[in-house]
């Protein structure tokens, strides 16, 4: 029974999990439904890209401008040197280089200075500008990398020669980060934009997500304008193919969880059914068998009577034995009839056969019963405040059947208690017997179901105990026919159950049936 309980619990759990999965899956599917088509993605990415590109260029140009127009802030430039018309360091520049940083600059940029890279670039740019735009700007920005470190130079034409300034790139970067941070485009969770340098090192990211992961797909990539044309702005979107896959996986998981629910519910229902059917089958088997018993029992009864008559005066001993056989057979027949009657759920037909005996002799008879198993010490006790010779009309056999049923239950389920107290006492008009065991007892919630047909209480580790589950319900019926009842309650102190069987004398009709 414990096993069934665990199994049911697991099944309930499975249903719960499946339902959660189902809801989660549906929610995700609903969310995914909102993804857009290829065309829409490209269009949206294009818009984001254009906006951010414009923003980046504007910010960077703004910073470059700012660096030239804030002379009080010497954080912008790390070094400034003067060059002659030929791009050579002017006379005395190196001697006068008092600052370590300038010396370092000249050492680090030997090639740049010797090959007149900056001057040539300046001339080239000026040609282009004056040809195409007829502008005569007298300075240009130049960017490059040395040992993967960004360098930004400002070259300005002076009346004689050039002034070359090297920007403090760390300062530029930090200012740039702050500027870029000011732009917070609404990218949702679908897009990520990335500004990256010549070595593909990401410099600044807009939007959440790891673009290195497979989730993201590059949609648009373009360089910035001069002089930062070695930097790229890339827009990524959540990978759409991936989305289709996840739509399918989601639908599949939805179907699986739905099937799981149906299957577990089915299992749960069938296991219930099976238990009930099993009990019914057991009863109908008992019924059939009992029916088969009827004819032989009648024959045994008949022939033992005949034998008794035949032997009446010849052998008293044998006659007495035959008498015992007969009465036992009759008892058995009635029991069989009772079972049959119950099986047909015609409880009214419960057949009772009254005989008159003293309360005391009933006690003695019960006490002399031999229990089927010897697993319990049974302590019988009779309250002697009543008249010993008081006679009572009851169906002795039926009541003994009840007693046996209760005792046998105690042997099955409360053997661990080691002891069963059976007290005979009078309560007003009723004759009562209480059976107090010291077993594990039964949960309160199950107590009231004990008399339900086919009900079997849960007993840890007692799955193997057999029985049909109808004994107690028949017993109660017998007690009620006797104008009494069979009740059960948890023992007052300590573990165990206490059954109380009460009965009165049978009414007239029953006595003479």
């Amino acid at each position: 029974m414990n096993g069934t309980k665990v199994k049911n619990l697991l099944l309930y759990l499975a249903i719960l999990v499946s339902v959660i999965l189902l809801f989660r899956g549906s929610y995700r599917l609903f969310r995914l439904k909102q993804f857009s088509s290829d065309f829409q993605i490209t269009q949206e990415a294009g818009r984001i890209h254009e906006n951010l590109l414009t923003y980046c260029e504007k910010s960077i140009n703004g910073l470059l401008d700012e660096s030239l127009h804030s002379p009080e802030n010497d954080s912008w430039f790390s070094t400034t040197v003067l060059l002659d018309e030929n791009g050579k360091l002017k006379e005395g520049q190196i001697d006068n280089l008092s600052k370590r940083s300038t010396r370092v600059f000249v050492e680090n940029n030997k090639r740049l200075l010797e090959e007149k890279v900056l001057i040539n670039y300046y001339k080239k740019r000026q040609n282009i500008e004056s040809d195409e735009r007829h502008s005569d700007l007298n300075f240009f920005w130049y960017t490059g990398y040395q040992n993967q470190n960004l360098q930004i130079f400002h070259t300005q034409k002076l009346s004689s020669g050039y002034r070359l300034s090297s920007m403090n790139t760390a300062y530029f970067y930090s200012k740039m980060m702050v500027e870029l941070f000011r732009s917070q485009p609404a990218l949702g969770k679908t897009y990520v934009a990335l500004l990256s340098d010549s070595f593909n090192v990401p410099l600044f990211q807009w939007g959440e997500g790891d673009v290195e992961s497979k989730q993201f797909k590059e949609i648009l990539r373009a360089p910035l304008a001069e002089p930062f044309n070695m930097w790229h702005l890339t827009v990524y979107s959540l990978n759409k193919n991936n989305d289709w896959i996840s739509v399918f996986t989601h639908i599949a998981s939805l179907i699986v969880s739905a099937l799981l629910i149906v299957f577990t519910v089915f299992l749960l229902l069938t296991s219930r059914h099976r238990a009930i059917r099993q009990a019914e089958r057991r009863v109908s088997f008992v019924n059939r068998v009992s029916h088969e018993f009827k004819t032989p029992l009648t024959n045994i009864s008949l022939y033992s009577e005949l034998s008794q008559m035949h032997l009446e005066k010849k052998d008293e001993k044998v006659t007495a034995y035959l008498g015992v056989i007969r009465s036992e057979v009759q008892r058995l027949s009635r029991m069989v009839n009772n079972v049959l009657g119950f099986g047909k759920s015609e409880k009214d037909k419960l057949e009772l056969n009254a005989s008159t005996l003293t309360w005391h002799s009933f006690y003695k008879e019960v006490k002399s019963l031999q229990p089927e198993q010897d697993v319990l010490t049974i302590n019988y006790h009779l309250q002697t405040n009543s008249d010993e010779d008081e006679k009572v009309a009851i169906d002795k056999d039926a009541l003994i059947q009840v007693v046996q049923n209760i005792v046998s239950n105690a042997q099955k389920y409360a053997a661990g208690g080691g002891r069963l107290d059976v007290d005979f006492f009078r309560a007003a008009e009723s004759y009562c017997i209480s059976f107090r065991d010291y077993g594990p007892g039964v949960k309160k919630s199950q107590l009231k179901h004990l008399f339900d047909p086919f009900f079997r209480a849960e007993h840890d580790g007692l799955e193997a105990v057999n029985g049909t589950g109808i004994g107690l319900s028949i017993s109660r019926e017998i007690a009620r026919k006797h104008g009494g009842d069979l009740t059960v309650e948890a023992a007052n102190e300590g573990p165990g159950l206490c059954f109380i069987l009460c009965f009165r004398e049978l009414p007239y009709e029953s006595t003479h049936r």
């Binding site: 954080s75 790390s78 008092s98 600052k99 370590r100 993967q148 470190n149 960004l150 403090n168 790139t169 760390a170 300062y171 970067y173 930090s174 200012k175 980060m177 702050v178 870029l180 941070f181 990520v192 090192v201 990401p202 410099l203 600044f204 990211q205 807009w206 939007g207 959440e208 997500g209 790891d210």
Partner: protein, 431 residues
């Protein structure tokens, strides 16, 4: 304390004077110099902060820049939140705080604000959730931007940067981060860097701290974070002087060679050294290596020291001029017997730190055996110095070299490298 004591004497081989928030002690490496040959001479200028009552300390402008990248999940972010909350709780109403978190992008959790509504700030800190990559540079930049809103002469401007990983979004070379530190310290901002676990880039973090005169900490497990924040904040609150500028002029046969440990500008006979801040009861030293050529001397060897600093308690600039001179000796051995231990101990420590850095470079190039050899030499050099100058601090340094030498390989190397970096920064700028 404001009264300037002008001690000037040709025969004086050391000088001690107090002004503003500091006392200054200057020594040459020997009391007498041999007049027969060229030799190396060291000058040590030691500043000591005069502590002020914490109740009237200068207000703080603090930025907490916290890594909330994916790798910070679990105990790390929990402890980081706890540490940041502790920092906020220990601030006063006149202090400024800003909280910036960075992952793939930057988030200004708390814009620079006076610490009036602590609970509001704390509840925002509690929302920090780890995700994404590590945009460290953008985080620091944004932190600085928040601080710029409140930079004033009498504030202590301090950024505390916490990171546990490689800066993988934004510039990440130690060179650029060092430059950033140099730019920030010019603006008056010190960045203290706290590296958590074994995954962060100690070169980058130590450069940033070193160049901005901040502290650099290697925290092995998240459990120690709260303690380190407490220590760092305690230091920041004790700043008594900022913007300490020292100009050293070498006279009479002395010629500057280099500044040990710190950065300095050398031009002709002048050396300029900048120290961003000095803590109450804390010492910071400048050690300069010079060459003494008796042939070029027309008097006693002598250095003139001009110092200026900003005293936070008096909210004004303090200036002083001081001279340290030494006399000539005819005997080489006699001159050498006049060595000044307090100077030599620092010289030895700084020279050993240089060798330690060299050993680390060798190890990075895979020259494990050579690095080990150098470290063991270094250890011997330091232990001999410890005996000669009676300096237990040098014995400790020697032990550290031995520890480095025995952990150049294997599993412990990653942690050891971080320990080495942290110790190098401490030796150069914190002592």
């Amino acid at each position: 304390m404001k009264k300037m004591i002008t001690a000037f004497s040709m025969a004086l081989f050391y000088s001690l004077f107090a002004q503003g928030a500091l006392t200054v002690k200057s020594d040459l490496s020997q009391e007498q110099f041999y007049n027969g040959e060229k030799q190396t001479v060291y000058l040590k200028i030691e500043y000591t902060g005069i502590p002020v009552d914490q109740a009237v300390r200068a207000p703080l402008n603090l930025a907490l820049v916290i890594d909330q990248s994916g790798s910070m999940s679990g105990e790390k972010i929990r402890r980081a939140r706890e540490a940041a909350i502790l920092a906020v709780r220990s601030l006063q109403a006149e202090d400024i705080v800003s909280v910036i978190a960075y992952d793939s992008t930057v988030e200004v959790i708390v814009p620079a604000t006076k610490v009036r509504k602590k609970e509001q700030i704390i509840s925002k800190i509690n929302e920090l959730q780890p995700k994404g990559s590590t945009a460290l540079f953008a985080g620091v930049s944004q932190g600085a931007e928040e601080m710029r809103k409140f930079i004033e002469a009498n504030r202590i401007n301090r950024m505390i940067l916490l990171s546990d990983g490689q800066a993988n979004v934004g510039p990440s070379s130690p060179y650029v981060l060092g430059n950033l530190g140099a730019v920030l310290v010019e603006e008056g901002i010190s960045v203290s860097t706290i590296g958590l676990g074994y995954g962060y880039n100690e070169d980058l973090m130590s450069q940033l701290a070193f160049k901005s005169d901040g502290g650099h900490y290697f925290v092995e497990s998240a459990g120690q974070l709260v303690g380190v924040f407490e220590e760092e904040l305690g230091m920041a609150l004790k700043v008594v002087a900022t913007d300490i500028r020292t100009k050293i002029t070498c006279l009479n046969g002395l010629k500057p060679v280099r500044v040990l440990g710190r950065q300095g500008e050398i031009s002709d006979n002048n050396i300029d050294v900048f120290i961003h801040q000095i803590y109450g009861d804390g010492k910071k030293s400048i050690v300069v290596e010079m060459e003494l050529d008796p042939a070029l001397s027309d008097g006693e060897p002598m250095v003139k020291i001009d110092t200026a600093h900003n005293s936070l308690s008096e909210e004004k600039e303090m200036n002083a001029t001081e001279t340290v001179a030494s006399s000539w000796s005819e005997s080489k051995s006699k001159a050498e017997n006049t060595e000044v231990a307090t100077v030599m101990v620092d010289v030895l420590r700084l020279l050993a730190t240089e060798k330690n850095e060299l050993a680390l470079e060798m190890r990075d190039k895979g020259q494990v055996e050579k690095a080990k050899e150098l470290l063991i030499q270094n250890q011997n050099y330091l232990s001999q110095g410890a005996v000669r100058y009676g300096a237990p601090s040098l014995a400790e340094e020697a032990a550290a070299q031995a520890d480095d030498a025995s952990n150049l390989e294997g599993e412990d190397w990653a942690a050891q490298r971080k320990k080495m970096k942290a110790r190098q920064v401490e030796s150069k700028i914190a002592k």
